[in-house]
Symmetry: C2
Subunit: 368 residues, 2 copies
Amino acid sequence: MHIHCRQDLLLNSINTVLKACSTKTTLPILECIFIQATNNKLILVGNNLELGIESTIKAEVIEEGFIALEAKIFSEIIRKMPGETVEISSNDNFMTSIISEKSKFQIAGQSGKDFPALPDVEKRNSCKLNQLLFKDMIRQTIFSVAQDETRPILTGEMLQIKNNSFNMVSVDGYRISYRKAYLSIENGEVEVVIPGKTLAEVSKILSTEEQDEVAIYFEDKHVLFDLGDSKVVSRLLEGEFLKYEQVFSSDYETKILLNKKNFLMSIERAALISREGKKNPIKIEIDGDKMIITSNTELGTSREELDVELEGKELVIAFNPRYLIDALKAIDDEEVYIHFISSLTPCIIRPKEGDEYKYLILPIRVNA
Amino acid sequence: MHIHCRQDLLLNSINTVLKACSTKTTLPILECIFIQATNNKLILVGNNLELGIESTIKAEVIEEGFIALEAKIFSEIIRKMPGETVEISSNDNFMTSIISEKSKFQIAGQSGKDFPALPDVEKRNSCKLNQLLFKDMIRQTIFSVAQDETRPILTGEMLQIKNNSFNMVSVDGYRISYRKAYLSIENGEVEVVIPGKTLAEVSKILSTEEQDEVAIYFEDKHVLFDLGDSKVVSRLLEGEFLKYEQVFSSDYETKILLNKKNFLMSIERAALISREGKKNPIKIEIDGDKMIITSNTELGTSREELDVELEGKELVIAFNPRYLIDALKAIDDEEVYIHFISSLTPCIIRPKEGDEYKYLILPIRVNA
């Protein structure tokens, strides 16, 4: 293999596929970036067998071929190359030279034949989505993906297509995050569970340009995100996801409308006293047109007062402040509705207008 | 104690003294910030017995008094207060309430009487320096303060005043950093060793305003930095510092002039192959008007070529790249001279013009 290419394009492409390279593994080839020169293109691939990313850039190909290079040192070298262009060539012993201006490196590569090819996903069952919207949907749901592996299926997010609605749902046993988008065309029904880690990495390479789209292709065991210059293939999680529709009731005994930012800041202050990790709840009292938030631990006490619009009964309820903070931070609206049934049943946070998201949070039982 | 003050001033003041608060100690009072209300001022103090910082702000004092508050929770509460002003009051049981708008906290304080007072440094032996200049001098020398405690005196920097010259020197056994400034007036002779940690913290609170000055007062066991609104008192290190003057010889067999930025970037690239921590040296070959930098490890090889102006003999020498990188990063000049005597003796890096700094670095012996 022998190519010339632009340093900035190559570095960008390396940074994209690096997200799928293993860092600790018993299979050293998975710590490599696979590079293939063909047809005036350079194709880079990272693949940790859960997640694979492919990125393509333009290159001047002098001799076609492929090689696998240890991702860490390869990325560090390219990052520091002095010139605008880089020359890469490898010989039959996989010895690879990287040259830019008066700087020259030689590193030992590995045979590209040993590198695991990305699964071939059939481009049949698909949908298209704005990249910026998809990035937002991930941000607004990923925080409630389960962190522990006791129920592996919950370490992923359900992605569901039904008629022209595109839903994402995550559940960690204490809360549910739900986010919906409308698709411009009707699609076949889809219901898959995508690993949270995959979505976190995909989110990082999604464009923030208004017009860019991502095409998503679904198969039994894999999902493919096609972003144009790069492609992400991920394994799907297998198992039964929570039937979330049944849990979101529209009944309520207490319904309040309040300013999101003020509510968030008050909860954050109360959380200083309740101290995360110690699972001390904060208490919320809805008393006429006031919400009183209190916390009380060995550190001290705090008290906050907020204006709310109340419909229904007054109520006292307690929460882990972290769950409220995560949900409120994900919400861009200025005002939100919160529905309660009792102090022992979950509350539901909804936007004042529209139905794009809802968050369900379990309360903590406290003694009166 | 009962006061009202501005939230932003108080937060700023807390952030200043926080640098001297202990985080892990068997004396819980050292994890506190001492607060004293007196004469329409609020004085805050942090003191870990090595280093003490005092900061004063304006306040409306309703009742004079003092209290010690756990630094972490106090700073977190003040950081998140909603209003422009904050009200703090404490009762005889040290219970302290902190109020801003509709947010109210109560935390248990400790008796201010138990808080160790800052050492009283006599304002006799002193000098004045521009804060920005002092900040630069610290940055340009602190990296070669010894990290290990085998010779405790070397974990500090020597600060030396002689005639109208103000010198700072640090030594870690492999290299020496020297930085000089000229004082506008003659001062008494001073030679003290200040802990590196103190200088690191002082550097953070030094102003970047062109005209601000710091007054430094010296005593046998302590040094006081007076920055106007804040004061820093530090213990001095005791012991014999290196007689650095004898080590900086002005003899050379090889002297080169080269571009600092290109040299730094070449060394950084060569260091990718030599891999820090593994102590693999990089080799420098001065060959006519060229410098060839090579590194060679199990990872691969690298080769860099630079233009230099040579005076004297050609030379081959090897270094730990980290030491060269640290010194070159600290230098603001575009071109530097490097003096060598042989491949087994230290090199000295100097500015092309002036005598404000010099860096001495020991080579690594390698087999030809």
